[in-house]
């Protein structure tokens, strides 16, 4: 059975080729709709759009370096119950990994979807993208890919990408049913299509694409990009550690936080239906505030800011996929992602776990064994 094939690039235009490919997917009988990043008709922002009309795919733009939200939670909305059809969802690597974490928590399921992922070249901040893309966003996406794929050191020139993307060591969507490969491929001629699951293979057969051997150059390009990302990541960890390694420094790091909780709303893996921090538990009695103020002579309000972040770290750091949407959502420019990734890296390592790596791996705080961590017991 074919597992790798190619998409011939139409008129040297990756974007056009991808749109035509998605149209051919939508034409398959069993596919009812495609959820894909699409440029909205009323403004040049790119949002996840659930598309049933193939015409609409002419504005699809899965490679736009714009990442206003992590769509994993939207996919759970489509899959928490059978929808009566099969939806192809076009997601970034971090969206797929977040979705896998949510599936593990029974908030979504994979039966009625087919996941399509392209090599992820990263994203700019929302405002940078809108400024740079200007009036011709198609041309901008093409220029961005061109630049990202052909910079001199065979990897991506990502100096202006958001830190989450620069530090992302998972640019390849390993969890996709169908992968569209760009790195290490001569994208003026073709794109790689690889089936990575049984469902992906079935679709690939139906699409009837010409077979294609994955070129050796691909692994090299992928490795080089990942290496660069890990180098950046480790520098980021070191700088964040330096900025937060005492309670005093950590409170300074979070000092601008106004407890708006946008970061948890934007976070795809903050899984609680109702967050305790927005319940009455934190609507303290007025006398309580005065009591706290008297304890140290001063009480910063709103209270419980560090408490909120530490609790979120305890609850979701083992599921954090490093998508950076927390930072993106913060009105006060607090580098939330940097903090969460630094801690997540440790907590995930401690449980030999990696968020989104494998749908079969149980979340660390949901399994317990008799013979483990004996060294932490005792005085």
């Amino acid at each position: 059975m074919t597992t790798t094939a190619k998409l011939d690039v139409n008129n040297q235009d990756i974007l056009l080729t991808l749109r035509e490919f998605l149209q051919s997917v939508l034409q398959q009988n069993e596919i009812s709709a495609i959820l894909a990043p699409q440029r909205l008709p009323m403004k040049n922002v790119v949002m996840p759009v659930l598309i049933t009309d193939p015409e609409q795919l002419n504005r699809a733009d899965p490679l736009a370096p714009y990442f206003p939200l992590n769509a994993a939670r939207l996919v759970t909305r489509l899959t928490r119950k059978p929808s009566g059809g099969k939806v192809a969802v076009v997601l970034r690597s971090c969206e797929i990994r977040a979705f896998i974490e949510l599936v593990k928590l029974n908030q979504g399921q994979t039966d009625d979807i087919i996941i399509i992922g392209t090599d992820c070249l990263g994203a700019y901040s929302n405002t940078d993208y809108l400024k740079k893309a200007g009036d011709d966003p198609d041309a901008f996406t093409r220029r961005f890919c061109e630049n990202a794929l052909n910079s001199p050191n065979e990897s991506v020139d990502d100096a202006e990408l958001i830190p989450a993307c620069r530090a992302c060591e998972h640019p390849i969507p390993d969890g996709a049913d169908l992968l569209i490969g760009l790195l290490g491929i001569d994208t003026s001629k073709q794109l790689l299509v690889r089936a990575q699951t049984l469902a992906g293979e079935e679709l690939l057969v139906k699409l009837d694409l010409p077979t294609f051997e994955e070129p050796d150059a691909r692994q090299k390009a992928v490795d080089a990009l990942i290496k660069k990302r890990i180098d950046y990541r480790d520098r980021m960890f070191a700088a964040t550690h330096e900025a937060t390694d005492s309670l005093e420094k950590m409170t300074a790091y979070l000092a601008g936080c106004i407890n708006c909780y946008n970061c948890r709303i934007a976070c795809p893996v903050c899984y609680c239906k109702e967050c305790v921090f927005v319940t009455d538990v934190f609507y303290h009695e007025p006398f309580q505030y005065l009591q706290w103020a008297r304890n140290k002579g001063a009480l910063k309000m709103p209270t419980d800011t560090v408490f909120y972040h530490l609790t979120r770290l305890a609850h979701i750091s083992t599921a954090c996929v490093g998508c950076g949407q927390c930072t993106n959502a913060c009105p006060n420019d607090i580098p939330v992602m940097e903090l969460f990734r630094m801690v997540s890296h440790r907590t995930q390592q401690a449980f030999d776990y990696e968020a989104g790596r494998n749908i079969e791996e149980e979340p660390p705080l949901s399994v317990f064994r008799e013979d483990e961590f004996k060294d932490i017991v005792g005085i």
Partner: protein, 140 residues
Amino acid sequence: MDDFEPTIIAFVCNWCTYTAADLAGTSRLAYPKNVRLIRVMCTGMVDPQHVIKAFLEGADGVLVSGCHPGDCHYINGNYKARRRIKLLKEILPQFGFDEKRLRLTWIGASDGIQFAEIMRELVMQVKALGPSEARLKMVI
């Protein structure tokens, strides 16, 4: 520093460690009053949040203590507690909390003497660490 009296919050399970504390009491065994017991039905119900809150409120040490492996009245609550303490021991030290301030022990219902000894030892160790940063500084 010599007259520093640490505050230690101990989450103890009803069936084992609390019973041991009770036994220590009825046996008139003295243990330091720095330890404030909070009785919970099982260590498996101690959310990381409770531990974090105790530290941010200025506790110099936090102890979670329950039944020995195999003895938990809810079968595996103590194993859950162990993973959560492991998790917190990865998170809190990154922000300057000494890992030794957070402890987990198993103290069975009949271990009254051991309970008193462990409390004395714990208080000594936390005393040696000095006051926690959260006790001294503003926490936002």
